[in-house]
Subunit: 229 residues, 2 copies
DNA sequence: ACTTTCCGTTGACCTACGTCAAGGTTTCTC
DNA sequence: GAGAAACCTTGACGTAGGTCAACGGAAAGT
């Protein structure tokens, strides 16, 4: 596989001069993680970060009694594990492959050198981190200010928008994982999906699929203007 | 006042060549916000960011029914409002002065130009954003995986460490605001402080002061290994 | 100094959501 | 393709923490 060609499709490196892509290609190390394999653990030192070329990764925290909060699910083209690269500290969370995953690993020192000579990479990375801060802000808002039905509604709208506003939403993950993204547990999510189905707001027969039947109701739930019976 | 001199004390610009400091000084605009004044609102377009030279700012989200979640309290030397500078989108949260505050405002375009010529500023900014992501990660963990006593304990330890491990902690903010940082409400916080006092873990007679009496108990609470009676 | 507003505390009450348990079903694994 | 493991759902139950209300004290604006 031509690594430089793969890199040229990564948003982070859009518009980068070919010569730098070549440099990066020499730096990057291909890695593979089997489904279920840990990529890094909280507290590990970070000597570089990954870019996903195929597969899917979850980044998450756990509580002592085993509850899990997913921070991100990353897929093709997305970088992850950059925080320790720039703080010089350790990973603040866990990362695990939830499908067989290929990544390109960028060692810290080489990447820092590239940034020093090529500011557009720095600007791209600043943009990536800023987007992530924005998403975290919205996750914090969810956890602190919204109830679970509102979070679910907002998440469904988010998925719907991402797929050009379709009403047929492919979750792409298990409902257990969806619960963990929403900051709740499978039992609670299951009950809420059942209630929303009963009120004809959604249909959720299949396992990884939800169909929006009453978009207005979903929007009102997400805005906190409506409650389930 | 010599703006360049002020800028030289900002961590973000540590080690920057004097010539660039001069450039920045010409770019920067002094601003003043009275206590209670809004610096920006969620949804405002961001044409630049601020650096605090004196005072204190809270960055927060609100729910439709008025509950507030504080994301950060920023003070001297800290930058805030950078996210829209790099995403090109709007502010994801509110910012309000909680004391009379002076800032230096850095317009977006000029700052971007500086980054393009001076990569060390980009690296500093990457570090600032990464630190912030780390703190958000820990706030998300708190909200999702810990109960309020555990969050409070962790916050007290954080303040204690920041002041060289002292047992006499100066909160510097009202307890209402502390509640809003911890993702709860004043009533609940008040009850928990009372319980911790009853168990001789802390003393909290004065308004903005807490004294740690049993540090081990606090550490156990923060780790989730202990519960209040 | 006076008044109005904000802050902190406590009590009685309620509810969203987590826990525990048990069932059926789908999906890995060997 | 058989067994094991993980997933999904529903019921009964418990509780952390939010809501509403009331009151004393501090602080801020006039």
């Amino acid at each position: 596989m031509d690594i430089a060609k793969q890199l040229s499709h990564i948003p982070l490196f859009q518009g980068l001069e070919p010569q730098y892509l070549e440099t990066l290609a020499r730096i990057a190390v291909k890695k593979f993680f089997k489904r279920g394999e840990t990529v890094f653990a909280e507290g590990d030192p970070g000597i570089g970060f990954h870019i996903i070329t195929s597969g899917r990764i979850k980044v998450y925290k756990t509580s002592p009694d085993g509850k899990e909060q997913i921070l991100h699910i990353m897929s093709q083209g997305e970088p992850f594990g950059e925080v320790p690269v720039f703080t010089g500290q350790r990973f603040p969370a866990y990362a695990e492959a939830i499908a067989d995953t290929n990544t390109l690993f960028m060692p810290r020192d080489d990447f820092m050198n590239l940034i020093r000579t090529e500011p557009s990479v720095a600007l791209s990375m600043l943009s990536v981190l800023s987007m992530r801060l924005k998403r975290f802000t919205s996750l914090i808002e969810d956890l602190s200010l919204r109830e679970v039905p509102g979070r679910l509604a907002a998440y469904l709208l988010y998925l719907s928008e991402r797929d050009q506003g379709t009403d047929d939403i492919n979750l792409e993950i298990s409902k257990t994982q969806l619960a963990s993204i929403l900051g709740t547990i499978p039992e609670t999510l299951s009950r809420i999906l059942a209630r929303m189905t009963r009120e004809a707001i959604i249909e959720s027969d299949d396992k990884r699929h939800v169909r929006i039947c009453d978009r207005t109701a979903i929007e009102e739930l997400a805005a906190g203007e409506r409650r389930l019976a």
